[in-house]
C-alpha cells in the first residue's frame, strides 16, 4: 500500500525489497524516480494495483528508457595494473621526447629556410619577442642575481672567516655566479615567464583554430610562430645571462665590502685572477637552455585541445617541464665540462 507522494524525496524511505502486491490507489503524486521504483518492482515480479492512467503513462515512458545495466568490467590483478600504468607512462615519456625532437627539427628546418629565403622571415615578430622575453625580463633577472650575490657573499664570509680565508669569498662568488648560478637561475626565471607565455599565446590561437586558418593561407606555423619566438629566446637568454653575471658580482662586491671590508678595487683585482673559462662555460649553456625552453613552450601550445581546460593544463605543464629540463641539461653540461677539463 503506497499513498501520498512517490517522488525522489520519498524514495529513500521505501523498502528496497518491494512487496509482491502494491496498492497504488491512494497515490496522488509520482515523478520519474517513483515511476522507476515501481517499474523495477514490477520487473522483479510485484503486482501493481490501482495505477492511475497518467501515472501508468509516465511509468511506461520510464520503463522504456531504463538503460541496460553496464557490463561489469573484468577484474585486473593489482600487479598487472601497476605494470600497465608504468608501461603507459614510459611510452608517454618516450612519445614526449619524440615530439620535442620533432619540434626541434621543425625549428631548425624553419631556420634554414629563413636563411635561404630571408624574405619569409618575420623580423618584426622577432623584435617584438626579443622585447617581450628579453628586455622586459631584465629587472627581475637583475634583482634576483644581485640578491644571490649578496647571499653568497654573506654565507661565504661566515664560513671562510673561520679559516681566515675571507679573501677567497671573491673566488667563491665569481665561480658560483659566472659558472652556474647566473645562467641557471636566469634560465629558470625565463622558463617560468616565457614557457608559460608561449604555451598560453600559441595555445589560445590553437583553441580558436587560428593556426588551422593560417595553414589554409599557405602560411607555415613553424615559420610564423615557432621561429621568431625561439630565436628571440636564443638571442636574449645569453644577454640576460650576462646581465645576471654582472648583477651577481655587483651584489657580491657590495656585500663583501660591507661585511668583510674588501674594497671594490681589491675585489676587482682578485676577480681579474679568476679564469675567464668560467664565464665561457656559463654563457655557452645559454643558447641550449633557450632552445629547450622555447621548444617546450611552443610544443605545449600546439598540444592544446579545443577546451579552455587543456590550455591551463598545458601551460602549467610547460613551465614545470621547461624548468625540469633546464636543470637536467645543466647537470649534463657539468659532466660534459668536467670530462673535457674546462
Amino acid at each position: 500500500m503506497l499513498d501520498g507522494a512517490l517522488v525522489v524525496w520519498t524514495l529513500p524511505h521505501l523498502p528496497t525489497e518491494a512487496a509482491p502486491r502494491i496498492d497504488l490507489s491512494g497515490l496522488d503524486k509520482m515523478d520519474t524516480a517513483g515511476a522507476w521504483y515501481l517499474a523495477e518492482a514490477q520487473h522483479s515480479g510485484a503486482r501493481l494495483e490501482g495505477l492511475k492512467p497518467n501515472h501508468a503513462q509516465l511509468m511506461e515512458t520510464v520503463a522504456t528508457a531504463i538503460p541496460e545495466p553496464d557490463p561489469v568490467p573484468p577484474v585486473v590483478p593489482h600487479w598487472k595494473q601497476i605494470l600497465t600504468r608504468t608501461g603507459m607512462r614510459t611510452m608517454q615519456a618516450l612519445g614526449y621526447f619524440k615530439e620535442l625532437s620533432e619540434y626541434l627539427g621543425r625549428f631548425l628546418a624553419a631556420g634554414i629556410r629563413a636563411i635561404r629565403h630571408p624574405s619569409q622571415f618575420r623580423l618584426t615578430s622577432l623584435v617584438y619577442h626579443c622585447q617581450e622575453t628579453g628586455v622586459r625580463a631584465i629587472p627581475i633577472v637583475f634583482t634576483m642575481s644581485f640578491l644571490i650575490g649578496v647571499v653568497l657573499a654573506f654565507q661565504g664570509a661566515a664560513q671562510l672567516s673561520r679559516f681566515g680565508a675571507e679573501v677567497f669569498v671573491v673566488d667563491l662568488i665569481a665561480i658560483a655566479v659566472l659558472r652556474e648560478l647566473g645562467i641557471l637561475l636566469t634560465a629558470i626565471v625565463v622558463a617560468g615567464r616565457t614557457a608559460s607565455a608561449l604555451t598560453a599565446s600559441i595555445g589560445s590561437m590553437k583553441m580558436r583554430e587560428e593556426i588551422d586558418a593560417m595553414r589554409t593561407f599557405g602560411m607555415d606555423p613553424d615559420m610564423v610562430l615557432t621561429l621568431p619566438r625561439v630565436l628571440a629566446l636564443v638571442i636574449t637568454l645569453p644577454i640576460l645571462g650576462l646581465i645576471a653575471d654582472v648583477a651577481g658580482l655587483v651584489g657580491g662586491a657590495v656585500m663583501s665590502w660591507i661585511t668583510l671590508g674588501i674594497s671594490p678595487p681589491m675585489f676587482l683585482t682578485r676577480l681579474s685572477e679568476i679564469d675567464v673559462s668560467h664565464v665561457i662555460v656559463g654563457l655557452s649553456k645559454a643558447p641550449f637552455f633557450a632552445v629547450i625552453i622555447g621548444i617546450i613552450g611552443v610544443h605545449g601550445g600546439m598540444r592544446v585541445g579545443k577546451d579552455a581546460e587543456s590550455l591551463g593544463q598545458m601551460t602549467s605543464k610547460s613551465v614545470v617541464n621547461a624548468i625540469f629540463a633546464v636543470i637536467i641539461a645543466d647537470a649534463l653540461f657539468s659532466v660534459f665540462f668536467s670530462v673535457i677539463g674546462l
Binding site: 525522489v8 524514495l11 522507476w36 515512458t61 520510464v62 538503460p67 553496464d70 581546460e309 587543456s310
Partner: protein, 258 residues
C-alpha cells in the same frame, strides 16, 4: 482565469549602466505549456531567463514563480522553489571535471538518504531519457559533441523532476536532424513529465514544432504573445519580417502550416 500561471513577470526593468534592456516587461508562463521566447540579438532573451532564475538582479519589477515573489525569497524557501525548476544553459554548462553521469548526480546529491547505487541508477535513467546512449555515462563533457552536451545538460536539468524547464537556445549549433530530434525530445518529455517549458530560441522550426505560445521580445518589452497563427497577424515591422521572411515560410511549409 482558468489556467494557472507558474511564472508571472510584471513590470520588469533591467539596466546595465545606461543600457536599458527591459522596461516594464510583462510575461506569463502557463502550466504545461511550451512558451517560445524570440527576439532579435541583444533584446535580452537570455537576460530575461537569467532574471527569472535569479542570476541577474533586476532594477525593478516583480517575478512570481509558483505564486511566490522570487526576489523576496531567501534561504530554505528559495531553495525549495529552485528545486522545482531546471535550467539547461546554451552549451549544457556541464561541470568539466565530472563525467556525464556524475553531472546528473550533482542535483540528486541534495536528496537526503538517497543511496549511492540508487543515485547512480537514477542518473543513468535521466541520461537515457535525454536520449543519450549508455556509453555516454562515463564520458567527460570534452569528449561529447555539441548535441550530446545539450542532452546531458537536459538530463541534469531534469534530475529532480522539475515543474518548470528553462532552455536557452537548445537547438543552436545543431544540425537539422539533431535539432529536429531535440524538438521531439522536448515535446515527449513535456507530455511525460507534465513540464512547463520556457524556451529561448531563434529556431523557427522549433517554434513551429514545439511551442504552444510565442512571446516576442522587442522594444524592451514583450511586444506580442500568442500562438503561431496569431503571430502571423501581428502588424509590427520586426515581427512581420520575422514570421514572414523566407526562412519562416520554409519552416511553415515543412511543418504543414502553423
Amino acid at each position: 482565469m482558468s489556467v494557472e500561471n507558474v511564472i508571472e513577470v510584471r513590470g520588469l526593468r533591467n539596466q546595465f549602466g545606461d543600457h536599458v534592456v527591459h522596461d516594464n516587461l510583462d510575461l506569463d508562463l502557463r502550466r504545461g505549456e511550451i512558451l517560445g521566447v524570440v527576439g532579435g540579438s541583444g533584446t535580452g532573451k537570455s537576460v530575461l531567463l537569467r532574471s527569472i532564475v535569479g542570476l541577474v538582479t533586476p532594477q525593478a519589477g516583480e517575478i512570481r514563480v509558483f505564486g511566490q515573489d522570487i526576489r523576496k525569497l531567501s534561504g530554505p524557501a528559495r531553495e525549495s522553489v529552485e528545486r522545482r525548476w531546471g535550467v539547461n544553459f546554451q552549451d549544457g554548462a556541464l561541470f568539466s571535471a565530472l563525467t556525464v553521469r556524475e553531472n546528473v548526480e550533482v542535483p540528486l546529491r541534495a536528496v537526503p538518504h538517497l543511496g549511492d547505487e540508487d543515485r547512480e541508477r537514477l542518473a543513468g535513467l535521466k541520461v537515457s531519457m535525454a536520449g543519450l546512449p549508455v556509453n555516454a555515462n562515463p564520458k567527460f563533457p570534452s569528449d561529447l559533441s555539441g548535441g550530446m552536451r545539450k542532452r546531458a545538460g537536459l538530463a541534469r536539468a531534469l534530475a529532480l523532476d522539475p515543474e518548470i524547464l528553462f532552455l536557452d537556445e537548445p537547438t543552436a549549433g545543431l544540425d537539422p536532424i539533431g535539432a529536429d530530434a531535440f524538438d521531439r525530445l522536448i515535446l515527449t518529455l513535456r507530455d511525460a513529465l507534465n513540464l512547463s517549458v520556457f524556451l529561448v530560441t531563434h529556431d523557427l522550426d522549433t517554434l513551429h514544432t514545439c511551442c504552444d505560445r510565442i512571446a516576442v521580445l522587442a522594444e524592451k518589452r514583450v511586444l506580442a504573445t500568442g500562438t503561431m497563427a496569431e503571430m502571423l497577424k501581428v502588424d509590427h515591422p520586426w515581427v512581420h519580417e520575422y514570421f514572414h521572411g523566407p526562412r519562416a515560410r520554409a519552416a511553415m511549409a515543412s511543418s504543414g502550416g502553423a
